[in-house]
Amino acid sequence: MKRLWIWMPLALFLGFFALFASGLLKPDDRVITSKLVGKTLPSFSLPAAASDRPALASTQLATGKPRLLNIFASWCLPCAAEAPQLMALKQAGVEIDAIAIRDARPDVDAFLQRYGNPYTRIGLDARSSVQIALGSSGVPESFVIDGKGSIAYQHIGDIRADDVPVILRRLEEAR
């Protein structure tokens, strides 16, 4: 019995060593997903963020047809990088609405002029309150909203070319 006890500290050390080593070797995962996926979209009503697009309210997202809700900002670089992919989605027939975070109308206008405007409606969330209510942790993010106004899928980060088919499939599934 005593002989066994003598090995305890070493066993403990090895245990902790394995724990720390696995923690250090595991790739860092900083993505925080929204826990609202599968639930109804929180209700909100935002003023228009751009001069030539109407304002956005949550009721306008439950139209019986799945839509894409893009969270972006004119000051966000990856948002500019995903612009061509959003354009491609729009050309594939997807209705895209957007929420501009901590933004101002002239900046949004300039951004859309430079990178293109795939959006039907754009709401201005000047103080991130709708972003927080959605459980979104940054820009850009995109939510697939089904026809009944529930969140079907969340894409975190910019939409790359190979994400486009995934989002199209999710939109199809949300039908």
Binding site: L36, A126, S128
Partner: protein, 136 residues
């Protein structure tokens, strides 16, 4: 009273109408004038994790989203909401991850149990030692 309310409403409406680069939200870096409410808000903000700088609390972080969360928390506490209700609201959106306050979830039972176990182990060890000493 009426004038005061009008002035307050004016103060609150200015940032929403701002068209240029945005200033921080009204209560991001401003304390609530009632110290008791500010204390409650502060205690909550120190245990809510920042989504941008993930190892800081929103009370410590300069990220704009943390500022917006601080302002929202202060405004909701001024409106009479309970801090724990706001925490639950945030957890509903971001998961337990967003709160630094340990919960009573089964995954945390070892955390709560460890001190008891260690104290028990220490007492056992002590008893063994004392017995041994008496005999010799």
């Amino acid at each position: 009273m009426r004038t005061l309310l009008a002035v307050l409403a004016l103060l609150l409406s200015v940032p929403a109408l701002a068209q240029s680069a945005l200033p921080p939200a009204p209560y991001a870096d401003r304390q609530i004038s009632d110290p008791a409410l500010e204390r409650r808000a502060k205690a909550l903000m120190e245990t809510i994790r920042c989504l941008t700088c993930q190892s800081q609390s929103i009370a410590d972080s300069n990220a704009s989203m943390a500022g917006d969360m601080r302002s929202q928390i202060r405004e909701r506490i001024m409106a009479g909401e309970e801090p724990e209700h706001i925490r639950a609201w945030l957890i509903e959106r971001y998961g337990d991850w967003v709160s630094y306050e340990p919960t009573a979830e089964p995954i945390l039972w070892p955390l709560w149990g460890a001190p008891l176990l260690l104290i028990g182990f220490g007492l056992l060890l002590l008893r063994g030692r004392l017995k041994g000493r008496k005999r010799s």
